[in-house]
Symmetry: C2
Subunit: 218 residues, 2 copies
């Protein structure tokens, strides 16, 4: 066929039911793993992997590697816009969703991710920094460095970046990793705000949680 309409390629990509299920599941902005997308689409892992690879090269998906997981998300608002326009046309009835992350509420709240803090509370910290303009594009601004230094988070350990962002398992948004993330966790434990619980759970008490939140202005 003539070289013209690349648009057909994109539409055909969206036009497969399995892929549509994946894309609609990602429309709320979260990131899902390959396995989860496979489940959403109702297909096996190998098949899903192939679909994802194609969508990725077409720019319909963005990937982020995280240990042995690969998190996929929509690369930008334009994809969501196109999907919405198609939904408008199709008068979509209801998307198939799958619950993400751990079932245990304690795990969702706070837990260890390698050597740093993860969970809702950790995500809130990262969100605070981003919202306040102290973190841009996954990197600290000067304002951010100053603000953190005032709170006793000064420098790294020389082995790795001071501040990294890390995609949160349950929240599907970024929390803080790197040396900074590790320092935040050890501080919370050292101050007695929190202690290690069952498995990877981190238990913040009432007062401990409040103190933690106060430090970061949450």
């Amino acid at each position: 066929m003539r070289e013209g309409p690349y648009i057909a390629e994109i539409a055909a990509l969206i036009g497969d039911p399995a892929r549509t299920n994946m894309l609609t599941a990602l429309m709320d902005g979260r990131a899902l793993t390959v396995s989860e997308l496979a489940q959403v689409a109702g297909i096996t892992l190998p098949t899903a992997s192939g679909h994802i690879a194609r969508m990725e090269t077409a720019g319909l998906l963005a990937a982020e590697k995280q240990g042995r997981h690969r998190y996929l998300r929509l690369p930008g608002p334009d994809v969501a816009t196109a999907l919405e326009a198609l939904m408008e046309l199709a008068q979509r009835t209801g998307a198939v969703r799958v619950r993400t992350g751990p079932r245990d509420p304690a795990l969702r709240e706070a837990r260890v991710c390698y050597d740093h803090l993860a969970g809702a509370r950790a995500v809130a910290v990262a969100a605070k920094l981003a919202d306040a303009g102290m973190m841009v594009d996954h990197g600290l601004t000067d304002a951010g460095r100053t603000w953190l230094a005032e709170r006793g988070f000064v420098r790294g350990d020389g082995r790795r970046p001071f501040c990294r962002t890390c995609l949160d398992w349950s929240e599907r948004r970024h929390h803080l990793g790197g040396a900074l993330g590790a320092q935040i966790l050890s501080r919370a434990l050292a101050e007695g705000w929190a202690r290690r619980g069952e498995g990877r759970v981190i238990d913040f008490g009432q007062r401990g949680g409040a103190a933690f939140d106060r430090l970061f202005g949450l």
Copy 2:
């Protein structure tokens, strides 16, 4: 596959190169015939007919019958919106267009359509009526009837609607048909503003054209 995403059906429909060519060709709001769409898509007539039937039942196309022709157009702005969103994604390079209508400029200007006037000048009349609120939804308003009566176009011949709209071959917009259309043509000929030319051509002279335009306030 699960009953969920009708969106996939729509996207798959758009996702075929042949169909995409047809749809993009219609994006400027004109209506094209089945044959023309087949040419645009680079496929034979039977194949195009099948594609069109499917898109029609899916609500992606609207049809209008006109003698032995069938004119297809986009049913509304939502389809165009979705296509544009997809184009945005695909960074479309360039659509394949096909020239529509007759090559002869005289034919494009004015000609006979069955028993009434067609071509650019006839379309202008219909557009004038629509713009002035004298025609709504392909029907005359009271204001329109009055205005036409003032110009000597009073009633029909009893055999057919006084005023019909008719899709123009070259302009792909509506002109006036029915008894009114026939009266307009015969008036132009009777007044000496125009005369029959080669084939179906209607020749308006300089002064004839001006007089015609004056009558309709063009």
